[in-house]
């Protein structure tokens, strides 16, 4: 019996394996149509988006630069108002230095407002074109014309907008499920676009048939997706991206005194210290895990530059350099050219470097710090000590954090001296969280814009320091992902 069965199987195998039958010519025509259409549209979309994406990035970058670089002066202005109520510093507020700053700042704001209104009016002029094209999408599109390569620009732009900004939710839930399933990281061309567009009226049978015959299955029922396994088992190289990002930031120090330290010292410091420059440069690895999750690690180089002003004068500056290894987990999703992502995790500072000075706590009443009052009659004093935007860059490059002539050395701690520096050289752990958008520029390159918040969990000060200091950072990260 068993032999007969084996013989039965053998005859079938011999007769049916290796046979060939020519398929009808229409199959090749359909294959060609399906692939050519996708590529032509993808290339044209790519050209449009390259131009649009570059302009958008430049605009955002410019706006961010204005926000972060120009922020310093306004902080000073704000602080001068806060200090008015304190009798000891009333003179400082009345000092003619700050009104000057205010004027300069107002003039600058007016200029920015003018530029902004110009930009708005330009974009208004282009608006009708977009509205027209959008309304075309609602009407029936001639697919045959599209296949023949006659793609009207209006329709192209409209469908481009449709595909990039919103996934059309179709009536058929099974169809939506299928789109979600097909939407993979590997879609080199905007795969979704082609199919979304064709879906309702597609003359291409396989896609339609596949969907029509699809049955809903609960997650547990699908034990093995054989085809997907074949192509989604990607190598390390295929899952990895180099990640570079620049993050201009605002920082806030959270300082708390130990039991025997007067909080006045920290108040004085927070009043005097102005953060003039804070940024992080990131270089690392972005590694895609399963199910849209990803892992990021690498090196963050963070630099903070501060200037101390007392009585309206710059007295000294300092600089913190941190090297940190971030370990972040995230989730990302995409729709054709645009996507979003969210990530969070911890970072460990492995090397901290400090230069310059910070205010010293005056412990001994017999050793008062002599803070010289500025000579109000001296005409040049404002110009001489005015903070300039270039100071931050110049001081960092020249490594010059020298004290002003008017600052008593006994009133400050020199951060470059081990016995005076109260800060840790490593071991600070930061909490990170961020969420942003991604623009998929090409197969290899995408750009991200990610509002980012991080904060040190433990104090950056040594145990023997008389205060705790934590830093919180907020900024927008401008990044690039480059595939190997």
């Amino acid at each position: 019996m068993s032999d007969q069965i084996q013989e039965f199987d053998r005859v079938f195998r011999e007769k049916l394996s290796g046979q060939a039958t020519p398929p009808p010519e229409s199959v090749w025509d359909n294959i060609e149509k399906e692939r050519t259409y996708g590529h032509v549209v993808a290339n044209r979309i790519s050209n449009y988006w390259q131009q649009f994406g570059t302009m958008l990035l430049l605009l955002i970058g410019g706006a961010a630069a204005m926000l972060f670089v120009g922020g310093g002066e306004q902080q000073i202005e704000h602080k001068s108002q806060a200090q008015v109520s304190q009798p000891a510093e009333k003179a400082m507020a009345e000092y003619s230095y700050f009104p000057n700053l205010k004027l300069r700042s107002t003039a600058k704001q007016t200029k920015i407002a003018q530029q902004h209104s110009q930009l708005s009016s330009n974009s208004n002029q282009k608006q009708p074109t977009y509205t027209d094209s959008k309304s075309k999408v609602a009407s029936k599109v001639n697919l045959q014309a599209l296949y023949e390569g006659d793609i009207p620009d209006g329709e192209l732009i409209a469908s481009l907008g449709q595909s990039a900004f919103a996934r059309p939710q179709l009536k058929d839930d099974r169809l939506n499920a299928q789109i979600n399933h097909r939407e993979g990281w590997e879609s080199a061309k905007p795969f979704g676009f082609v199919h979304y567009y064709q879906m309702d009226e597609s003359p291409l049978r396989p896609f339609r048939n596949e969907i029509a015959q699809a049955e809903m299955k609960s997650a547990g029922d699908v034990k093995h997706e054989y085809f997907d396994d074949l192509f989604e088992h990607r190598t390390f190289r295929e899952r990895s991206y180099l990640y570079f990002a620049f993050t201009p930031q605002t920082v806030q120090k959270i300082m708390t005194p130990e039991f025997n330290l007067s909080s006045d010292y920290l108040k004085d410091r927070s009043k005097a210290e102005n953060t003039r420059l804070a940024y992080t440069f990131t270089a690392g690895l972005h590694y895609e895990l399963k199910n849209h999750k990803f892992f990021e690690t690498g090196i963050n180089f963070t630099q903070i530059y501060e200037e101390m002003s007392l009585y309206g004068e710059k007295r000294f500056s300092n600089q913190y350099d941190f090297i940190e290894i971030p370990l972040l987990l995230g989730y990302k999703d995409r729709n054709a050219k645009w996507g979003w992502h969210i990530k969070g995790g911890l970072g460990v500072q492995v090397y901290n470097n400090y230069k310059g000075y910070i205010l010293k706590k005056v412990a001994d009443p017999n050793d008062p710090v002599q803070i010289a009052q500025p000579n109000v009659n001296q005409a040049n004093s404002n110009a001489q000590f005015r903070m300039k935007k270039t100071d931050a860059v110049v001081n960092i490059i020249t490594n010059d954090h020298a004290l002003s002539d008017k600052q008593d050395r006994r009133g400050v701690l020199d951060l470059s001296r081990e016995n005076e520096n109260p800060y840790l050289e490593s071991g600070v752990v930061n909490f990170h969280m961020a969420a942003g958008i991604t623009y998929y520029h090409s197969i290899r390159t995408s750009f991200t814009m990610t509002p980012h918040y991080s904060r040190s969990i433990n104090s950056i000060t040594k145990d023997r320091a008389l205060f705790k200091e934590r830093i919180s950072y907020m900024g927008i990260s401008f990044g690039t992902l480059v595939k190997f």
């Binding site: 019996m1 007969q4 069965i5 013989e7 039965f8 199987d9 053998r10 005859v11 079938f12 195998r13 007769k15 049916l16 394996s17 290796g18 046979q19 060939a20 039958t21 020519p22 398929p23 009808p24 229409s26 199959v27 090749w28 359909n30 294959i31 060609e32 399906e34 692939r35 590529h39 049978r205 396989p206 896609f207 048939n209 596949e210 015959q213 699809a214 049955e215 029922d221 699908v222 034990k223 093995h224 054989y226 085809f227 074949l230 192509f231």
Partner: protein, 179 residues
């Protein structure tokens, strides 16, 4: 043009090379699809879908092993995806009504390829997949179970039932020829 050059030209999206590749394999692959499909139209859909996947993913072929085997694997998986979506659960064919009878291999070998193909196409989806994978592709029950998401024992019983059904059909054909 040898196979390697043809694949490299396809990687550069050269139309002529894609057409040549299609010409080279479409006949065999169409026959593979016919074995899994219920009718010609469905086989054409499978073939079209399969070749689009081949061209889209040809960069993933690492020149290790046979290219024909790689293409064939894609076709089989595409066909399985089609069939899998028509679940086994809906199939009611009452195989239990068939008599246990063993047909000699000679009776089978007397049938033409087209007749055998028709027989396979008439099998219900689940039975057809198991029969194709086990008898013609040479997969084990364990592999079939993994691919179709069914247990090994289900695969065995499906195969037994499909053989029984085939043997009945062969007998019928044989009798009708004698008549």
């Amino acid at each position: 043009m040898n196979e390697k050059k043809l694949i490299q030209a396809c990687l550069q999206e050269k139309k002529a090379a894609q057409r040549a590749l299609y010409e080279r394999f479409s006949g065999k692959m169409y026959f593979v699809c016919l074995r899994y499909a219920r009718h010609d139209m469905e086989a054409q859909d499978m073939l079209q879908d399969g070749f689009v996947k081949v061209f889209d993913n040809i960069s993933k072929f690492k020149f290790q092993g046979s290219f024909e085997g790689w293409v064939r694997r894609i076709m089989v998986n595409t066909a399985l995806n089609y069939c899998r979506k028509r679940s086994f659960k809906d199939e009611v064919i009452g195989l239990e009504d068939y008599q246990d009878q063993v047909v000699s291999s000679k009776a089978v070998s007397n049938l033409s390829e087209q007749e055998l193909l028709k027989l396979i196409q008439q099998l219900p989806d689940g039975y057809r997949m198991v029969f194709n994978l086990y008898v013609i592709e040479g997969y084990s029950h364990k592999e079939i179970g993994e691919q179709l998401g069914i247990s090994e024992s289900t695969s065995r019983s499906q195969l037994a039932k499909s053989r029984k059904w085939m043997q009945n059909e062969v007998t019928k054909l044989k009798m009708s020829k004698h008549v």
